[in-house]
Symmetry: C2
């Protein structure tokens, strides 16, 4: 085994898309698992209801995939989830928006040019870093808030979907 001091992982763009979309499929099932009323208003410890968290994910993923492709980033504060009262909070609306963005990601993904994820750019006027880090941040943020949703569901006596199942 040769020791390398500078190495690079080669990760197929398709594997990255599938990783993201696998998490989005799981989050969609978590949204579905909530009763309507709890989705819009249930909270623990003063945290936001899961509908607000889902709106945040939507408000990151949609300008996010556009920013990744085009370099045009919405500014923080112009984002959907940053505008007070923006977005309807019912499950049907949010699931519809969710599915639109799933299709948008699948449609735009193949257009991302080779080398794009390695470019350093200031996403949302906030984070100056390689695009792969920005994308990982979107996914991490979704996992983090979804983990919150698991506790909400368990405390409501509802079994959440299996974490490892991303089909």
């Amino acid at each position: 085994m040769t020791t390398q001091t500078t190495t690079t992982a080669l990760i197929p763009m398709e594997a990255i898309r599938e990783h993201w979309q696998g998490h989005r499929r799981l989050t969609r099932r978590v949204i579905e698992a909530f009763p309507e009323e709890a989705f819009e208003s249930y909270s623990i410890g003063g945290m936001r209801p899961f509908s607000e968290l889902a709106l945040e994910m939507i408000g990151m993923a949609e300008p996010g995939i556009n920013g990744i492709l085009t370099g045009n980033w919405a500014k923080f504060g112009e984002l959907e989830h940053e505008v007070p009262g923006a977005g309807k909070h019912d499950k049907a609306h949010i699931l519809r928006r969710w599915d639109e963005i799933t299709e948008l990601i699948d449609r735009l993904w193949p257009e991302i040019p080779e080398g794009r994820l390695e470019q350093v750019e200031t996403a949302f006027g906030l984070y100056s870093q390689p695009i792969y880090n920005t994308l990982l941040y979107f996914i991490d943020n979704e996992i983090h808030h979804r983990g919150q949703g698991y506790v909400y569901l368990r405390s409501l006596g509802i079994e959440p979907p299996a974490f490892w199942d991303r089909r």
Copy 2:
């Protein structure tokens, strides 16, 4: 902008190490934020206390970095967190173990050969997939359970550390 149908992201191994360790630094702060008693026993909705979740993370990261480097994977069921009663649950013990593994990852990481993350292998006798997916799973699992810890802390009236801060 040229459209590519088969593209590959080139992600420096050092960026991947830093991504993992950044999450581990944040999780360490979440462990520290718990009062001792709550760390070992506080729970919502029948879920495990945060000490158990931290032991699971430890039980994945330590054989995980060894498996990534050597291809020798512990089997599920032989893992530390799978052995009933294994591991002490107090904060001091778990933080000490945490720091040992942080050093272990930093020590072993530069020895991972070029191309290793792209190899398909059955980690823990369970997941046959490229090593980069196995590593992402360790990180995702940590984010997921740490998100649970944020709800425990909030419901205890404790402000959790900032999610975006990975210093």
